[in-house]
Symmetry: C2
Subunit: 705 residues, 2 copies
């Protein structure tokens, strides 16, 4: 469902197709559509009928944008323009255009710059232009009225009636079951946790309807203790439907004045239109259900941007989002939602505080840009957002302490994890994030051809890496220590730095094995309890071959949520709790989000670490498939890439993969000598084998043991 467009006067597109054969696109200043979308969704949080603005700065798109195109016409020609905002048009030949028909005006002959200055402080300045010789596209230049001329961007908007600011997700009517009903109250169940516009049907009379939302039945029944509720005031004799603002809910309870009647409740499910390109099924039915519910959970949180949760906070958070970017690449491969999130989190200059105020989150943001690139090969995106990466890194470097180390300053939230860990002094974890960010900056500088920054980043990386290793690696503990206070290392060992060192490939294979024994598999080290950091711990366990342990944990942890009736996965879960205690968080009885992006972790785990598919060159030009059953009898599924879906099927005897492109490599272990229908298997150390998958779209079958 697209919203109808009120902004624009009536017009006809008759004859326009005849004018131009090229496709005209709505164009805007790079990143601004994304910032617009991020702002829109970030403004929708309410708590108990009270708006909840973000605590950090949320940027509106620039209110004024210039659009410029160098034109050269041998003779005058007719043109049409659609503009989202107030505007004026100027050419060096005609001066400002006045008294013209935007749908049919004359471009003069000659060489000149065609300029449109657009003002729209409440929406998104954008234009669509068509003439015989020219259409609006990325060759046009744009500026934010600050002498910053850069090439325009577009985003799939080509219909004159629908400029980018009309962008909205899709909707679909959904129904519910009435569980309870009385003259003043009604409780309904939509069957599973969902998100959308609640609709009160046929309301009439004179009075109030209280609408209470619940991700659990208990929450909807808790009335004003529910996290979200609305008050609808009715004053009319004729029955009408009321469509309310989007909420997250499975249950809705209404409590109304007797003077009001309501015929029923339904909703418009609102969702990002995506294809479920990633898939995974296996011999384990519980795992399959976990995968499916994870997919649905992730779909609910992937919207205009990646949200943390659909009930609360309904905001993009850079740390949460990093996991969503990755999950996205194993499910929908929807590049746009990642880009909207990355642009939105960063916003405009000046960059005055860490993203979401959290020190770690600025680093995750930088790293996220490169993750996006390695999966998509979208160098154009990197090129566009690169100046803001430089600004972000400049800010981070400008705040290093007197030892040249990352340390929280006034106003910085040093997060790491919700856990009883030290936040004082120089945390090894933050240094590691800096190092990884410097590596990312170097990679991105190379992509955009910024040699000076690339060299500087490489030099800083070398320097900071040596400093990190020197300051934090402990031969005594065989691990990276957690923190250094006043220049003195402490005895605290935590999992964070050690597991990220494995994930970032920042240590030798030999040291990975040492860390595995001394930290990862060491039960004396403070366990990780948040799904947020579990994401990385489970990944690290897979990196060191502990798939069986991961599988067992997934079945217990996610399986227990399913046993409790979960239809989406939660923000946190403590199996030792019971009853309504499960819904409590932040000191509020229903504070916990029951549909949280990081709860969907399994969609990443099974694609990345069980089917074992990941790019080793940008956009899967080269990639690895290293499947591992981890105790499953068989598994089967697909992983999306820019060139199509990679298919993987594995039993205890046979591996079948269907390729995309010619750059794949299959890696597997076998106790006997494996055989293949295509290509040549090469033996490595131990029982390790590799098979180059150098035929595009081919199906390789390998028998092994």
């Amino acid at each position: 469902m697209k919203k109808s467009l009120i902004l624009f006067a009536l017009f006809t597109t008759l004859g326009l197709q005849a004018i131009s054969a090229q496709e005209a696109k709505w164009i805007f200043y790079p990143g601004e559509f994304e910032i617009w979308a991020a702002k829109k969704i970030s403004q929708q949080r309410t708590e108990r009928n009270q708006p909840h603005p973000t605590m950090w700065r949320l940027d509106a798109p620039f209110g004024q944008i210039g659009f410029r195109k160098q034109m050269s016409l041998a003779k005058p020609e007719q043109a049409s323009i659609w503009v989202d905002g107030r505007y004026t048009i100027e050419t060096s030949i005609t001066g400002h255009l006045f008294d013209f028909d935007p749908l049919n005006f004359t471009l003069p002959a000659g060489e000149y710059e065609f300029v449109v200055l657009v003002e729209n402080f409440n929406g998104l300045p954008s234009i669509l232009f068509k003439s015989e010789s020219y259409v609006s596209d990325e060759t046009w230049f744009t500026d934010s009225h600050s002498r910053d001329y850069i090439q325009a961007s577009s985003a799939h908007f080509t219909d004159p009636a629908f400029p980018p600011s009309t962008y909205a997700l899709e909707t679909e009517a959904i129904q519910c079951t009435v569980l309870e009903s009385s003259p003043t109250h009604m409780l309904v169940d939509f069957g599973k946790n969902t998100f959308g516009f609640p609709i009160l049907h046929g309301a009439k009379g004179d009075g109030k309807i209280m609408v209470y939302y619940g991700e659990s039945k208990e929450e909807a029944l808790a009335e004003k203790l529910a996290e979200t509720w609305d008050v609808v005031t009715i004053d009319r004799a004729k029955a009408e439907n009321d469509t309310l603002d989007t909420k997250a809910f499975r249950y809705i309870q209404i409590v109304k004045d007797p003077s009001v009647t309501v015929e029923g409740i339904s909703a418009l499910y609102e969702y990002l239109p995506v294809e479920y390109r990633g898939s995974f099924t296996s011999s384990d039915e519980l795992i399959n259900r976990i995968y499916d519910v994870s997919m649905y959970t992730f779909h609910l949180t992937a919207r205009e941007c990646h949200l943390d949760g659909i009930k609360r906070d309904r905001w993009p958070w850079s740390g949460d989002a990093l996991q969503s970017y990755l999950m996205n690449f194993y499910t929908f491969f929807d590049e746009d939602v990642n880009k909207r999130t990355l642009w939105g989190l960063r916003g405009h200059e000046p960059f005055k505080t860490h993203i979401n105020f959290i020190l770690d989150y600025s680093f995750y943001w930088i790293i996220g840009v490169y993750y996006h690139y390695i999966y998509t090969a979208d160098a154009e995106f990197v090129k566009r957002i690169y100046p803001r990466m430089v600004g972000t890194m400049d800010f981070c470097i400008g705040r290093l302490n007197e030892n040249g180390m990352v340390q929280g300053k006034s106003g910085d939230w040093v997060f790491v994890d919700w856990a009883p860990i030290s936040k004082d002094g120089e945390l090894s974890f933050q240094q590691l994030l800096l190092i990884q960010s410097l590596k990312t900056m170097k990679e991105c500088a190379d992509i955009v051809g910024d040699k000076a920054t690339s060299d500087k980043m490489q030099q800083l990386y070398d320097e900071k890496f040596a400093q990190f290793d020197d300051a934090f690696w402990s031969d005594k503990f065989n691990a990276f220590i957690h923190t250094r206070v006043n220049g003195e290392p402490t005895d605290e060992i935590t999992r964070y730095t050690n597991m990220f060192a494995i994930l970032f490939d920042a240590v030798s294979d030999q040291r990975k094995q040492i860390i595995k024994e001394s930290v990862i598999l060491n039960n004396d080290i403070l366990p990780i309890t948040t799904p947020y950091m579990k994401f990385y711990e489970l990944a690290a366990l897979c990196e060191i071959g502990e798939h069986a342990q991961v599988l067992s944990f997934v079945k217990d942890y996610w399986g227990d949520m399913l046993n409790l009736g979960a239809t989406t996965f939660w923000e946190t879960f403590d199996p030792t709790e019971s009853g309504e205690k499960h819904y409590e968080m932040y000191g509020r009885p229903f504070g916990k989000s029951l549909c949280h992006a990081w709860g969907a972790n399994p969609v990443y785990l099974f694609g990345r670490y069980f089917m074992g598919v990941y790019p080793t060159a940008p956009g899967y030009k080269e990639y690895t498939i290293a499947p591992a059953l981890g105790g499953l009898k068989w598994m089967k599924g697909s992983v999306p890439t820019p060139q199509g879906d990679i298919k993987v099927e594995m039993t205890q005897k046979k591996i079948t993969v269907t390729t995309v492109g010619t750059g794949g490599t299959l890696k597997f272990k076998s106790k006997n000598t494996p055989k293949t229908n295509l290509g040549t298997i090469v033996k490595g150390d131990d029982n390790e084998y590799t098979l180059k998958l150098d035929r595009a779209g081919a199906t390789y079958e390998v028998t092994y043991k």
Copy 2:
């Protein structure tokens, strides 16, 4: 006329007076009300029915503001809050407030920070708060969600029903005379050039009404060649009034379809409510008329901000505004319009281009802050805007060329004046503006107690001044040369640098006399033809005692405009032109603004240089009165100050002044020994005398010859 407030739900203020004895004020982030007002007025320019956005970046107020107050209550108390925007309230004791009545909610007992987060991207985030112990005022802290905690500002808004974003100028109904009328056309005359909301009375039928505005009759009759016009579409059987958007006009012509009827035309004159505190009358009736028309001209352009002209551009321009700040101090002494203009011109960080894109205009802006301070002694304003001054100066210094001199870079408009002068290389004029700006920065750094910057600015000033004098003073020409290209001085001499050196007191008295002869009174030097630079030239002539020449010029130049029927003074005037040629500018037949702020120059000249009143310490704590008749038989008038109006009356025999405060000094010349009723006259060089005016509110009478 205040606009009614739709933003807010109905509420009652009953009992509120009882709650609090202190006055609660609407508070906002410093500078944001001013930026809001500047944005509002800057968005109103249209040209021939087409919007005309500014070319430079126009900032909207920050969309999210936090308001914070440390509270300490022995027992709970009731509070009320009004908020312009969506918001949430939080205290460390209660967490977020939910389900509360904003007009009567409970503050808990204890010590805590009371926090209101407000979001309003389309208006101006602001709050009004009242409880028994606390009211919203400048002691509250505010932040733009960027960890930038600073004290809040207010601006005379205390009524819950009228937050700052309801601010509007006053209006008054005005009538016109019908000059021509036919079934399809009507031409009316408002008697003088004016500004406001045109009203079409009793329009009905089905069709179009073209509304053409003219500052001259010729313009209104030129229809679509007029600078401004509207199209009103009518489709109704019942006669109604249509109030159109504000325009500048003396004449309005409507041309309508025969199917439409219009009963008549009137308008709502829109104006800044001010008191005409400055006054000047003299023995010369022409001068008196020039003064009065100047006053009216200036009043029309002094609005939400100081505009250049009311028809075109309807924008604040930093160079034009500098003259308006000064004119304001000799007329209305309305400090707020200056502040709105200064904040609005500067806007937010990042400061990426010169103000109005013009190199000179960033310097004028810095200088303007100090001009405002010296007349008002408003140290609070300087303190608030000082960080943006530092940012502006940093930007300017960061763009000095390899010789450490100001030189236009790509994207900079090097303006100086509309005149056939060189803009290449290092202009002495720009160096002088830099020097004066450095001096201003030092003064302002001292006001806010920023010792480091003060020292740095003093050092830079000394360095740049020496460099300027060395590079541009020519003993050969007895003048500052105009420019240096590739390090080589040219032979070009212009008036600009030389007259500004006098005005800025940047040269010795001896050198002033040299410049007077070699440049100011030298007809071989390119004459100044724009009223913009005439402002400074006439001032410089007065500085060197050439009042008679100034008076004669004023009578010719402004008198000739009056002879042509001017009811407001023009953007430019060339007495050699005739007829409609006078209205032409920028290649458009009615492009010239006939009501332009700098045309009101005489209101400054007569106050500052004929009555001779000016502050020598901030806010007229000390001041000089140095009256000069310049050939007039007598003159009489008043000059506003923060402590009341200084009155000056002078005949060829007697000077009478009424003081404010105790810091005045009267300076005058006399051929005989003057006498006074109060105090002691002290003789100086030549025929110069001074009299300390050390009695407040006293009238001093001096007889002299």
